[in-house]
């Protein structure tokens, strides 16, 4: 169930350039079950910023009643969030949306997890779930440069991990697709989250041959499906009035379900 809670900051730290890892505790964690869902966060106290910020859940720890997010402090809201101190409270609405279903991958098979920049975080909880299910995981994670790379070791602990950077300052120079192109084709399922051009490239290359699941981003109002801010056309009616809402039908869709 979707709940609204003032959750306590257990820890917040900058883990890469402008990239923060934030762990919150509260009863809302008991509602979190699926990797790839997100929360909608009020980053300030007054009317500015007025809108909440959607941030993916990157790890769920039911035992300690905590969950973790990783986000980039970029604009006004995420900057404010990054200034929040331990033991203060953050207003969280969630969990929201439909995430990844790890169960579509079968034990013993291999899944490819592809993340770009701040699309990487939700893949972490997903990868943990997949390995627990006995699925073999390969991670291909793309970043701008060495300074913004995060979670490399954490992903490596779960499976094979390739890093790309646009400027080549760490890992392979180029985009995630440059690595995927030369990977052995052993995986059956692809899970991806990142910039739309990346998702489009994966969709067009692998939609026919693999099971592909993509997590989308869109500017949001309500985050719960009521305001129609975040809609996209469905693939079978690309110029008509059929639609899906990224916030409540997604953010994860099967490749080919919606128009990217």
């Amino acid at each position: 169930m979707i709940k609204n809670e003032a959750m306590k900051i257990v820890s917040q730290q900058e883990i890469a350039e402008s990239i923060y890892e934030l762990t919150l505790s509260g009863s809302l964690v008991s509602e979190m079950n699926q990797p790839g869902q997100f929360v909608h966060i009020k980053t300030g106290n007054g009317y500015e910023p007025l809108l909440r910020r959607p941030i993916s859940i990157s790890a769920i720890d039911k035992e300690n009643n905590t969950f973790t997010m990783v986000y980039r402090a970029e604009g006004k809201g995420t900057f404010l969030l990054s200034q929040a101190k331990n033991d203060t409270e953050i207003d969280v609405l969630g969990p929201l949306g439909n995430g990844f279903t790890p169960e579509v991958a079968i034990s013993g098979e291999t899944a490819l997890l592809v993340g770009g920049g701040i699309g990487v975080p939700p893949l972490y909880e997903l990868s943990k779930r997949l390995t627990k299910l006995g699925v073999n995981v390969i991670h291909v994670l793309g970043f701008q440069n060495a300074a913004t790379v995060f979670y490399e070791e954490k992903f490596r602990a779960l499976g094979e991990t390739y890093i790309t950077t646009v400027d080549g300052s760490h890992g392979t120079k180029g985009f995630v697709t440059d690595v995927i192109d030369i990977l052995s084709n052993s995986y059956t399922t692809i899970f991806a989250c990142g910039p739309t051009p990346m998702l489009r490239a994966l969709e067009s290359a692998y939609k026919e041959t693999k099971e592909v699941f993509l997590s989308l981003e869109e500017r949001m109002g309500c985050g719960i499906g009521a305001c129609f801010a975040c809609v996209c056309h469905t693939a079978d009616d690309p110029t008509g009035f059929q639609y899906k809402k990224v916030c409540s039908d997604g953010p994860v869709f099967r490749a080919g379900e919606v128009v990217l």
Partner: protein, 313 residues
């Protein structure tokens, strides 16, 4: 003692708080968060004769104490609204105000004729003020002659009272209000959004795909208050006020200005539980201010002769 019940044409409200059109869909999603029975009424999303997808995304942008939206009247169309959306709301003991829109007078008439027959639709809200569609919408809302015409046409077919939603993007809001009153409007709802815009620093292009959008939220509250103050003194029909309401105090300010009920829009995004919270806080605040009933607040800013049985503030 009920301090909040309000009677308006067609509307028997347990309290004067209702979600504003377009900020609450058809109630389904918020119905998962709390019991909709507590609401005074629900203003549902605009309905047009045919289904509409609306504008391309991005459809929202943030501004200081406000937001811009350019949804573009996305809705499943009259048939689906009548078949799926409105019946689902039947389970709640809450009057529905159906927001209707279109590209031409006939569209308004078509939707009004049909939708006003639905049993839980207790009033229509004529949206002649949407700034985010190319045809219809705001063009009807900025010319008093056209506004009066569409009001008359809708009144002729509607089986329930008709409230006309005014646009703030006009030189003379009183003239617009009087025109629709003359056209037979049973009430007014105001204000819709102010036309605004934002550009992306890096690209230099508008953030909204539709370029311009409608500004809502606390930023516009002083404009809404001023317009309601002016209009409420110049017409004899009640006003449902809206524009930046976030708190119970804001509600009282709208009543002082001249509103008889209020709608809450953007605030539902900041805090999805804002309507129940306001409904709970209002009686406490009214008592603190020395009122026995919220209706005592209406028009207090200009009504020198208003009697306040028990006013201690």
């Amino acid at each position: 003692m009920n301090m909040l019940d309000i009677q308006l044409p067609g509307l028997d409200l347990k309290n004067p708080i209702m979600p504003a059109s377009g900020c609450f869909g058809f109630g389904k999603e918020f119905g998962n968060l709390y019991d909709l029975n507590i609401l005074g009424a629900i203003m549902v999303k605009a309905t047009t004769p045919e289904p509409r997808f609306g504008n391309p995304t991005p459809r929202v942008a943030e501004t200081s104490s406000g937001m811009l939206n350019a949804i573009g009247l996305q809705n499943p169309g009259l048939t689906n609204v009548m078949k799926d959306e409105l019946p689902r709301l039947n389970q709640f003991d809450v009057p529905i105000i159906a927001n209707i829109a279109g590209s031409q007078v006939e569209d308004y008439v078509t939707v009004a004729r049909e939708i006003s027959k639905v049993s839980n639709v207790k009033a229509l809200e004529l949206n002649i003020s949407c700034p985010n569609v190319k045809e219809g919408g705001i063009t009807f809302g900025t010319d008093p002659v056209v506004a009066r015409k569409v009001t008359e046409a809708v009144k002729a077919v509607s089986e329930v009272p008709v409230y006309v939603k005014l646009s703030p993007n006009v030189t003379n809001i009183v003239e617009m209000a009087q025109a629709v009153e003359a056209g037979g409007a049973d009430g007014l709802t105001m204000i819709n959004t102010l036309m605004g815009m934002r550009f992306d620093m890096k690209t230099g292009k508008p953030i909204l795909a539709n370029k311009t959008g409608g500004l809502s939220g606390p930023a516009i509250k002083p404009v809404a208050i001023r317009m309601i103050y002016e209009v409420s003194q110049a017409v004899n029909i009640p006003i449902i006020g809206m524009g930046g309401i976030m708190t119970a105090e804001d509600v009282i300010e709208f009543f002082y200005a001249g509103a008889s009920a209020v709608a809450v829009g953007t605030a539902n995004f900041t805090d999805p539980f804002v309507c129940p919270k306001i409904i709970e806080e209002l009686p406490v605040l009214l008592k603190k201010l020395g009122f026995n009933h919220i209706s005592e607040c209406t028009g207090r800013s200009w009504n020198k002769h208003a009697q306040f049985a028990n006013h201690r503030a």
